[in-house]
């Protein structure tokens, strides 16, 4: 089975994030594989071990993303591909990334493509579905279970906490939700093997893409951190007074009712 994983390098949202002039300061940020993409990598390895074939992890980014690709290789992926946007002069958004990935995948022989449900940095969840559309293949999002039997695929997906069971067929793109699996740690033998595995770099010329045609369709106007959580307020007095006070605060101060 030919398995592809769409991976994104993101900053760690659990670490401190600094925003300067609407841009996340990358200097101090810690970078990781998007956690949802880790589920995708893990599931890809499990599928390969069960059905044979190869796992190729693809990312769109710059040279820095090689580190995360190596991590994916250390987890057990077989090949990695970096679509390098270093020399891309236009703005990049989810459309651009999806176009680059689609162009790359069109030339590949794939049975299943796995991606994360969303990326934790901007939470758009657009890229993978766009790729499926671009390739004209089946897609199922937010999966929490998958069984492949020949061409037939049985999937469990998360629907706002409920489970939906779906049957579909290859070729297929899925996006992975928390609960699908427990991603493995890259083992030390895995890390040592990773440096010998192929990591290819392509740019958009290699993909026969035109910069202007895939330039961003959206523009990010601003980015800012959520307001810092203020101190809580403890209401005092008789219970009736407290209720009145609370209602008035919710109405006039928080303006939620």
């Amino acid at each position: 089975m030919n398995i592809f994983v769409l991976m994104k390098r993101t900053f760690d949202t659990e670490e401190k994030i600094v925003i300067n002039d609407g841009v996340v300061d990358e200097e101090g940020a810690e970078f990781i594989i998007n956690p949802y993409d880790e589920y995708a990598i893990e599931e890809a390895i499990v599928l390969r071990d069960e059905h044979g074939g190869e796992v190729t992890v693809v990312t769109v980014g710059d040279e820095e993303a090689e580190k995360e690709l190596r991590t994916a290789l250390a987890m057990g992926a077989d090949k990695a591909v970096l679509i390098d946007m270093e020399d891309f002069d236009e703005e990049i958004d989810h459309f651009t990334v999806a176009e680059a990935l689609t162009a790359y995948l069109k030339e590949q022989d794939y049975d299943i493509i796995l991606g994360g449900n969303v990326a934790v940095d901007d939470g758009a969840g657009q890229v993978a579905p766009r790729v499926a559309e671009g390739l004209g293949i089946n897609q199922v999002t937010t999966i929490t279970g998958i069984q492949v039997d020949g061409e037939k695929v049985e999937i469990e997906r998360d629907v706002e906490g409920d489970v939906e069971k779906i049957e579909t067929s290859l070729p297929l793109l899925v996006t992975c939700q928390q609960g699908l699996n427990e991603p493995r740690y890259p083992s030390l033998p895995g890390i040592m093997k990773a440096k010998k595995k192929p990591l290819d770099t392509l740019d958009i010329d290699d993909l026969d893409l035109d910069e202007e045609e895939i330039a961003a369709k959206t523009k990010t106007l601003d980015k800012y951190l959520p307001p810092e959580k203020g101190a809580g307020k403890v209401l005092e007095g008789e219970i009736d007074e407290q209720v009145n006070e609370l209602v008035s605060l919710l109405k006039n101060e928080a303006k939620v009712i």
Binding site: K16, G28, K67, R70, T71, A74, Y185, P186, S187, L188, P189, G190, I191, M192, A194, K195
Partner: protein, 594 residues
């Protein structure tokens, strides 16, 4: 020039040679693989060990064993075991990083450390082919757990005074071991013990003893001040029949194994201390930012900032010194032929070259950790005294590091002792240097170093090496062979040597980073180096003064003290201001940063 440069990378050679920045390994030289190995270790510890820390503290050792096996599956037990025997045969920096990152696991790091270090390494280095084939694959995966049994109730520092005996049976097939080994880490669940005993009560030797052997048993768990989650028991040997094939190395040569294992054990202990200190500093910085008194975070108080600044500075110096030593091991081992690298004895000898550095690392890093842990508790105030807070555990766990793997006093005594031995063997041109020093010092005019980055630090470092020669040389001349009785003096010499190694390690690391990234990007490293050097030079001056006053009197003393003043004279720097700036960075990132 070439000669002194070569000298700089020999064991203790830094005292007489010149070391260049590109000759030292620094944490900035970690490769991508190193970072990934560190990350896997960290993720494993955070994901698997930290959630069950309390169970481990309560002696649920089945969890410790399960975790060790899990670590084995990830390759975290096989770094020092050659590939040929089921390990990974990684470089010493990789295995150091694993040790550093395991520190976060608290007492469990002892279970890991004792297994991969003193438990497995005797077989890695000194086992014969059959022994390696038989034991190492299972140790590398964690299928079997190892322990090391040297100490006895009546022999601690005097390890060779062991009372455990081994007598060859009449058939000549087995040694019969009898005795009691004390405070054996991992003893509650270890399968394989490296046990030291005296053959016929005389010839100190090492044996591989399996738990399964008849007559092997362990006592109850000890109740300890710290590292409560590690298993510590007495190992009882009652007429244990050990096949003679299980003699490790040669009969009567057990001390070679014991001392070699201690070298690497001391280094690894130092690395663990660096890891624990980073955690303590992180907790202290987070807490200082969070805790409010008088309506402001206590981090805004300069008294707290000074603590944070000092903690981070000491950490920088020790981290630099430790990884420098690790780099020296690597460097020396890379000189071995492929065949020699297979030979554990040769590898151990390549490490033993740096016995002085290992001892320095051991006592300096463990005292740095004790200091950092103590201040972390202090920053937490009353909360730091409460068991729910991690700093309380770190504080208790820290204390043992100054005691085991050779007390810090034993390690200090070893420093001048080993240096002197090297000098007498002609490995270090110490005596020649000391002789020419007298004349040199009489002629010496204090210089005014320029204000280029690191210029004053380098000037002072150069002079501190002369202070060492003056103190140690005077001691050797005055007391000759009776010098070993002058223990206070020997301890002081060790302190001077330690500060020299740390200053130099900090300077060279900072210089190497500046050569790569420029001074602007490495401003923090420069601050660390400036503060550490200033304080260390002041310490050295005081220590040297006390030593000289003890040894000399009258005009000779006056002359020597005036030379000392010349050597230590410099433009003092404002450490208070620099520590504020350092603290600002650490508090901003809420962790140790460089």
């Amino acid at each position: 020039m070439n000669n002194t440069m070569e000298m700089g990378v020999k064991g203790a050679g830094f005292l007489v040679g010149e070391v260049q920045a590109d000759q030292v390994f620094t944490p900035e030289d970690f490769t991508e693989e190193h970072e990934m190995i560190a990350k896997t270790t960290e993720d494993f510890v955070l994901g698997e060990v930290v959630p069950v820390k309390e169970n481990i503290e309560n002696h649920e050792f089945d969890i410790s064993v399960k975790l060790l096996k899990q670590a084995g599956e990830l390759g975290l037990l096989g770094a020092d075991v050659p590939e040929k025997y089921g390990g990974l045969g990684l470089d010493k920096i990789s295995s150091s990083l694993i040790t550093e990152k395991f520190a976060r696991a608290g007492a469990f790091s002892l279970s890991h450390g004792a297994h991969v270090g003193i438990g497995s390494l005797p077989i890695v280095f000194f086992g014969n082919e059959e022994q390696k084939k038989k034991y190492l694959p299972a140790l590398a995966t964690g299928e079997k757990i190892a322990a090391y049994a040297l100490t006895e109730p009546s022999s601690g520092s005097d390890a060779l005074g062991a009372k455990t005996t081994a007598v060859l049976n009449e058939e000549g097939t087995h040694y019969i071991l009898n005795g009691e080994k004390q405070w054996i880490t991992n003893s509650g669940f270890a399968d394989v013990f490296v046990v030291y005993a005296k053959v016929n009560g005389e010839h100190f030797s090492a044996f591989i003893v399996e738990r399964e052997f008849e007559g092997v048993s362990t006592g109850p768990e000890e109740k300890k001040m710290g590292i409560k989650g590690s298993s510590t028991r007495t190992l009882l040997l009652d007429n244990v029949k050990v096949p003679k094939e299980n003699v490790l190395g040669e009969v009567g040569r057990g001390h070679v194994i014991a001392f070699n294992i201690l070298n690497i054990g001391r280094y690894k202990l130092g690395i663990g201390c660096v890891g624990a200190a980073k955690r303590a500093l992180q907790l202290a910085a987070e807490y200082a930012n969070e805790r409010k008194q008088f309506n402001v975070p206590i981090a805004s108080f300069r008294a707290i900032q000074e603590k944070i600044g000092t903690m981070a500075t000491e950490l920088y110096a020790q981290e630099s010194a430790l990884y420098r030593t690790g780099g020296l091991f690597e460097e020396n081992m890379s000189k071995l032929t492929a065949e020699e690298q297979e030979n554990g004895g040769k590898v151990a000898a390549a490490i033993a070259e740096y016995a002085v550095e290992c001892s320095l690392n051991k006592f300096a890093a463990s005292e740095m950790l004790d200091y950092v842990a103590d201040e972390a508790v202090q920053i937490y105030g009353g909360y730091g005294f409460m068991s729910e807070y991690e700093v309380e555990t770190i504080y208790r766990d820290s204390r043992i590091n100054r005691i085991f793997e050779g007390t810090n006093e034993i390690n200090r005594l070893l420093v001048p002792g080993t240096i002197l031995k090297k000098a007498l063997k002609g490995e270090l041109p110490l005596l020649q240097k000391a002789q020419s020093l007298q004349e040199e010092l009489m002629m010496m005019m204090p210089e005014e170093p320029g204000d280029a980055p690191l210029e004053q630090e380098k000037y002072l470092l150069h002079n501190m090496k002369k202070v060492f020669l003056m103190v140690a040389g005077t001691g050797a001349q005055k007391y000759e062979t009776a010098l070993e009785k002058e223990q206070e003096l020997l301890l002081k010499v060790a302190d001077i040597v330690s500060d020299i190694y740390s200053i130099e390690s900090a300077i060279l690391r900072t210089e190497k980073a500046i050569n790569k990234n420029g001074t602007e990007k490495e401003a923090l490293k420069l601050k660390y180096t400036a503060v550490f050097t200033e304080e260390a030079v002041n310490r050295i001056e005081q220590t040297a003064k006390e030593s000289l006053i003890h040894m000399e009197e009258g005009d000779t003393l006056r002359t020597m003290l005036s030379m000392l003043r010349k050597l230590t004279r410099h433009n003092p720097i404002d450490v208070i201001a620099l520590k504020r700036e350092i603290a600002k960075e650490v508090l901003k990132e809420q962790k140790y940063v460089v």
